[in-house]
Subunit: 429 residues, 3 copies
């Protein structure tokens, strides 16, 4: 019979450098806890500023049982609210994206201003206190145009380090002066942590991602030194010299490029800029730029287009790739124990014209195919995790250290939560 | 992690004139309890006599895990049975509506007569006692042609008051001499209580129901006196004089019209007859009768067609509107915490001919549109109730008193149940 | 509110010759237990050797949360493995049937040989022990070409009696020299035990299976002696003389025919060969052979085609019918409390040519129709079991003794399990 899952025990006995026990991927109780503890307390990447460029533009984001309304006000600031009326609880904005004046509930016409203050409520009588019925707010933080939110009362303060670091890396790509060229929503048939684990290694790339690997070096994502023969050892040395040369060149252009890694932080992240192979301009199937109009102040004359690929990974739910001509960002949100939403957004310069400066198919091809291939692998991993024959297996120390970083970070967050709950319990006694 | 829901505590702490706490709308445990306590012990409206006019006609009704077979016998009486064979439990009648002789199980041919008595069972041997295997019965009560059932062993006796009162109000509309012109089944994506709450107020009508409000006065369903200016105060006074004049005229025609309200009774109900605006004949988009052949003994020569709209609301699951030319009845049945069936039936005189006496689109337009609009509002309310940002909010004392009546009745029934369970527990100790 | 189901109590109070209490058909907890105890510890019929005739051929079978990979090796043996990679747990073979060399995981290329030994795993470093990461094995046993598996560590030994008995009965039909003419997968909307109960009686046949009953005697599957008049008593006597005469003739041809019944064994089974009526050649709508090329060494010249129908039923999940010209086998696998997979396979001589020796529609018609009719009855029985009005009802002592055998066997297995669990608990204290 189904046992009640003892999640604290599962957390306590997790073995390092091994995949998690099955309930972490399959149990509704764990998913509920993930939504409460992981997605409820940490900074979650939910979108980019170009998705709501003008005052009155709003988008909604669904995270488990929370719907958040993000609204750009007349002062250009983006504010976040729980998307639910304070009268009888109707959902306020039902679309993913729209433009509004005030926030008006369709049910009985209750109206809130851009600060979430209730400004109209008919038939409630003269004793009714409107100011006790304002919308509940959510923390919002934009880092160089990437929007993170936190649902907790007290948001982790160490986002300051991520912001300070990443503003420098991302600023040259000038996110605020981009536009959304395309956005896709893919539902992967697997647990959100399998989506993340899959993202945190490229051990599977060579066998599964023909488009993605075109401009990638096989040495960029780890390898076992025991398996190198003399010729390949020379290839590795050459690759490492290339990286150093490119870093020097990019730094001279004002582009920070060296690896920064803070994966054990509560607001854990990692970034680095790596060279692209062949033509070396962008992450496309022909390795040339997909958009003629380059981002920010980049130009063929000054910086050139060969600016490699700046990658930025965050715990628990995002990754981003910045090239000289376009940006791709990914937001991962759990839907159920075995269903996960991956929202992918392609950004180009706001003045670029489709059909003239860029071809949409060419721009999106690499990641449209790669996402689909990853979805299929995540599906197989989920099917396996759901089998009674599944047992946690070993991560490679050479190709899967960032899978381990993610798993360790996740386990640490749950552990913090249980320790805190225990402390509160003892204090109460 | 998901806490077990403490329903008695939720019942005990319910605040009056506030919407219910979220689990009442979202929890499977609450829905199971609703089906057991609310739908299992009370009189439930399930259909009308014209749906099974002849001996041998039967309909089936599904209420949670109960399927009820209603069969009109040769004596014209309607009897109710649990729709399940006493042999190996196959469902007996699988259709919503059909005509049968005896009740024959398709599996092994066991046969029951119209009293539910097992009259044939092959191969069971000579010691088998057929009379120990009769169908289990269900209480059935027709009030002026509206069929109510009760699944409990002991049905609430106060249905007598509702029957006595409503026979007088409804009799002139002569339900037994009507026929079903149309029946629709709409699945609303919300909890059944949100469907009921939505039905019990017209605060939302002006902003959402353009067809429904054509012949309705804005003063017929409550308003805040604080918001009336002098001109509108005069409109209200005029409306109130109109109502009194119409009541006098209708009463002279043998049509009881004044409000009767017994919403705190176990078999709680409310009724009143209100004038219709503009042409004032019926609840249609042009406010004229939809069916030339009037109901009962009504005629343009004697009573006239301007008989207003008699409304009849019952706890926990129905409402009905009776005009001079047609009747619309609504039965609400829960399917899951967030799915509810609304079955709507349009009745006209049994001798009316479609295309000649009435146009079906014209007859059904107001409520087909209104039902769809309400379904959309209920969906938004359910989405909101499922959000962790939801909190119970205040009902308007002027426009939502009957929402409060419904919520209070519902809470009272659950409270009665828990008190009785506690009493039985103490008695057993 | 939903009570926790006390399955040991339900097992302990089960009444003989009565259908089971509702939770046995409706509860997810019971289904989980069924998969663990019934499908996890017993010999389960999953397919036939002709489905994977050549080395490298493999099929996969899903039993609850277990996916089993069956692979025929170069030595012609069929081996069984848990179909899940020992690295990060991806499902290995995703198709129902394919041909492979080694078993290669698509995710990161880990490779296993036909014995399930890990022979390749890149980037794991020099200290990694491949031989600690072999595939987990599953017991496989072929009885005259019918493949049974057991997922338990220790498989029931009494399969030896079934093997010894059935090899003699089935061998003349020469399963290994057949081919799959057709295979269907039907999902019945009912609990797997309702599918089995339906299979274990023909009380329902006359009223529901017009095609199936063409060559069946109404006396072949039980009847109440109290309901026989003098004329029908003579019919019975004649039928019984026919059976004896046929058994004598078939035995002379080397075909064991008398009933063998071991339904109380852990590996419970029953077999018998019965005459077919009318033309008497095969179980088809015209009762003639569907395939001109007869099975094994049968021929019109030597044995003739009138070899009746050999039936073979096993606990908990299969039945099989062997005629002179074709074989039909059935494997039943639970999907959820109210969904069950019935996989039906039609086998003919491996050299028979479709369109020449047999017409596929004619070959499959009886059981395609019968399966669909049974699915509809199982659906009605499930709908009934889900109703609160359901109560266990009586089995006929004359027509439903094998339904009782199945139910009693099932209850005995659960009882064994609970007794063993209790014993282990006491021993541990």
């Amino acid at each position: 019979m189904r046992d009640t899952i003892d999640i604290p025990a599962l957390v306590a006995r997790r073995e390092v450098y091994k995949s998690l026990e099955a309930p972490f991927y399959t149990s509704q109780d764990v998913l509920d806890l993930d939504i409460e503890v992981i997605f409820g307390n940490n900074w979650i990447f939910v979108g980019t500023e170009p998705e709501l460029p003008e005052p009155g533009d709003c988008i909604t984001v669904e995270i488990g049982p929370v719907s958040v309304l993000l609204l750009r006000g007349d002062d250009e600031e983006i504010r976040g609210f729980h998307n639910v009326c304070r009268h009888r609880g109707a959902k306020l904005v039902d679309q993913k994206s729209t433009t509004i004046g005030n926030i008006v509930c369709r049910y009985h016409g209750w109206t809130y201003n851009e600060d979430g203050e209730l400004i109209l409520a008919e038939h409630m009588g003269k004793d009714f206190k409107k100011n006790c019925h304002n919308l509940r707010t959510v923390h919002v933080r934009s880092i160089a145009g990437l929007i993170f939110i936190c649902l907790a009362k007290d948001a982790p303060a160490d986002i300051d380090l991520m912001a300070e670091t990443m503003e420098k890396y991302i600023a040259p790509h000038d996110v605020k002066n981009t536009k959304v060229a395309f956005q896709s929503e893919l539902i992967e048939e697997g647990n959100w942590k399998l989506t993340l684990e899959n993202n945190r290694e490229c051990y599977h790339c060579e066998g599964n991602h023909p488009e993605l690997t075109v401009p990638l070096s096989e040495f960029g994502f780890g390898f076992s030194p025991d398996e190198l023969d003399e010729r390949r050892a020379e290839d590795v040395a050459q690759y490492e010299r290339d990286v150093l040369e490119n870093h020097a060149r990019w730094t001279a252009c004002g582009l920070p490029s060296s690896e920064e890694q803070h994966l054990a932080n509560v607001t854990g992240f990692r970034t680095m800029r790596l060279p692209l192979m062949r033509e070396g301009e962008s992450h496309t199937v022909d390795t040339k730029v997909a958009c003629k109009k380059l981002l920010g102040n980049f130009s063929r004359e000054t910086t050139g287009a060969k600016l490699g690929g700046l990658s930025f990974w965050t715990h628990p739910n995002s990754w981003h790739h910045f090239m000289s001509d376009h940006i791709v960002t990914f937001s991962v949100l759990p839907l159920s124990p075995n269903r996960t939403l991956v929202r992918t957004t392609w950004l180009v310069h706001k003045d670029a014209v489709e059909g003239e400066d860029y071809d949409l198919d060419n721009l999106t091809k690499v990641w449209t195919h790669t996402n689909q291939q990853d979805a299929d692998l995540v599906r197989l991993a989920q099917l396996g995790a759901e089998m009674s024959g599944y047992q946690p297996g070993p991560y490679s120390p050479y190709t899967e250290p960032h899978v381990e970083s993610f798993a360790a970070w996740y386990i640490a967050r749950l552990n913090d939560y249980f320790v805190k709950a225990d402390t509160q319990k003892v204090a109460a006694e």
